[in-house]
């Protein structure tokens, strides 16, 4: 079953066509990686799936119905996006992890669970979020999204600028999420990583998206 379907989707930003006639299916309960060079439209595609922006043309469906018929706030609760820059909100790690549960008034939630699922110990809860390292921030950002127990995780370069150990922890955490039934869309420019973690790979280049088995991609390279 497809969680998302895109048919002829196009999007222009500042007069430039970023996505052009994209046809793509995101299968539920699987990890789909979007790989491609910088500026190829991967992040824009992710933002369309979270409804931070709307396509200019084509059809985008979520669970078989037009995404525009779904309330954007409920959609974002179900399909949480982890942006590339991992901006921390002012306050402690706990404040950050509990942000979404606080605004959605979710009471049966333990921040330690989300933190551990993202590969961080509970000792981090009291730490000042803005003083964390890049790798720690990435994992707190992941935990912040996991707090919503989303149906889909939309990850924008979750391991960029992160040391190999942290990267490995994030990969393992996300794969566990997938095994638990979460659909994952993973934007990366690391082809080897895409091959390692994904069930499906989509090659995004010059605004077009093509399903790939990984063999057409430069062997083990990085865009």
């Amino acid at each position: 079953m497809n969680l998302y379907s895109l048919r002829g989707v196009g999007k222009a930003l500042s007069g430039r066509m970023v996505l052009d006639n994209v046809n793509l299916d995101i299968v539920a309960g699987r990890i789909t990686s979007l790989v491609g060079p910088s500026g190829s439209g991967k992040s824009t595609l992710l933002r369309l799936l979270n409804r931070l922006m709307e396509p200019d043309s084509g059809q985008l469906t979520y669970r078989g119905t037009a995404i525009t018929s779904k309330d954007p706030v409920s959609l974002r609760k179900e399909a949480a996006l982890v942006p590339q820059d991992s901006t921390m909100f002012p306050g402690s790690v706990e404040d950050n992890v509990c942000y979404a549960t606080r605004i959605h008034r979710i009471t049966d939630f333990n921040p330690a669970d989300a933190l551990e699922a993202a590969g961080l110990s509970t000792g981090y809860l009291e730490r000042d979020a803005e003083r964390l390292s890049g790798g720690e921030r990435k994992r707190v950002a992941l935990a912040r999204a996991l707090a919503l127990s989303p149906h889909a995780l939309l990850l924008d370069e979750p391991t960029s600028g992160v040391d190999p150990r942290s990267s490995d922890i994030i990969e393992q955490s996300v794969m566990r999420m997938r095994d638990g039934g979460t659909t994952v869309v993973w934007v990366t420019h690391d082809i080897e990583q895409a091959k390692r973690v994904s069930d499906h790979i989509v090659h995004v280049k010059d605004g077009e998206a093509v399903m790939s088995d990984g063999r057409d991609l430069q062997g083990g390279g990085v865009y």
Binding site: E54, P72, V73, A80, L81, P83, F89
Partner: protein, 265 residues
């Protein structure tokens, strides 16, 4: 009661001309020292003086009409509408890229000023007379304009520098108002700090204009102080309403109905 300044406008003009010597000396010194403000100071003095003269002439006419019933009211309404339009246009310049900025500033400034002024009238703190209504409307609109400008300025800057944080909140299912609640609070606080600071230093560092004017006109200082406090309550009340209205209305320009940031931000 005569303030002892001048008996007639002509006498006042002579006094003003003699005191202006000080002003022109300052302009000369600033030109000599190449401070670069001489031209602006002269222009400001001329424009300000002309505006004050115009307002005084209108006020004199309104006070004349006061004896003939409510004839002065429509003219005062036109004058207050003018204050609203000019203050809103000036404040809207703080965010030139924002669509419908004028609509936001006009509604916020008018709401804060008219509401606070109405409270004074309903509470019988001031009589419904042009010599009270027009100057106090000027104070209310002027202060609300400053607060609206500061609020809008801070909001625009926070949106431009904090776009990443706002979108991160949105992407976790926050509504547009939840995503910017900290920015709203910060903008309101920043805009009101000068007013609150002025209130805290009332009488210590300076004696405000209305109180000073009343004392010079021979009113008992205690009564003048009470009246000044009434004015400050109007200014603070109107300012808070203006600032709250500005953040609420401006938010509609920063976001669309789908809780997405607008392209211009």
């Amino acid at each position: 009661m005569n303030p002892g300044f001048a008996q007639t406008p002509l006498e006042g003009l002579v006094i003003l001309a003699s005191v202006s010597i000080l002003f022109f000396l300052v302009v000369l010194v600033s030109s000599w020292k190449r401070v670069g403000i001489g031209k602006d100071m002269t222009k400001g003095f001329m424009v300000g003086g002309a505006q004050l003269a115009l307002v005084s002439i209108i006020l004199m006419a309104l006070i004349e009409w006061e004896g003939e019933g409510t004839m002065w009211l429509p003219a005062a309404a036109v004058m207050i509408t003018g204050m609203a339009i000019i203050s809103a246009a000036r404040s809207a310049r703080r965010s030139p890229d924002m669509p419908s900025a004028f609509r936001t500033t006009a509604a916020s400034i008018s709401l804060g000023s008219v509401l606070s002024l109405s409270v004074l009238l309903v509470a019988d703190a001031i009589p419904l007379r042009p010599e009270f209504v027009i100057p106090l409307a000027g104070m209310a609109f002027g202060n609300s304009m400053d607060i609206c400008s500061l609020t809008l300025d801070r909001m625009t800057r926070e949106f431009q520098t904090g776009r990443g944080m706002i979108e991160t909140r949105l992407s976790l299912g926050a509504t547009s108002s939840q995503a910017v609640e900290e920015i709203d609070r910060m903008a309101i606080r920043t805009a009101l700090i000068p007013t609150i600071d002025r209130m805290k230093t009332l009488g210590i560092i300076f004696i405000p204009g209305a109180m000073a004017g009343l004392i010079m006109a021979g009113v008992q200082p205690l009564v003048a102080a009470q009246f000044q406090l009434v004015i400050f309550l109007m200014i603070v009340g109107g300012g808070v309403i203006t600032s709250l209205a500005t953040v609420t209305l401006a938010r509609e320009s920063f976001f669309n109905e789908q809780h997405q940031l607008q392209d211009w931000v």
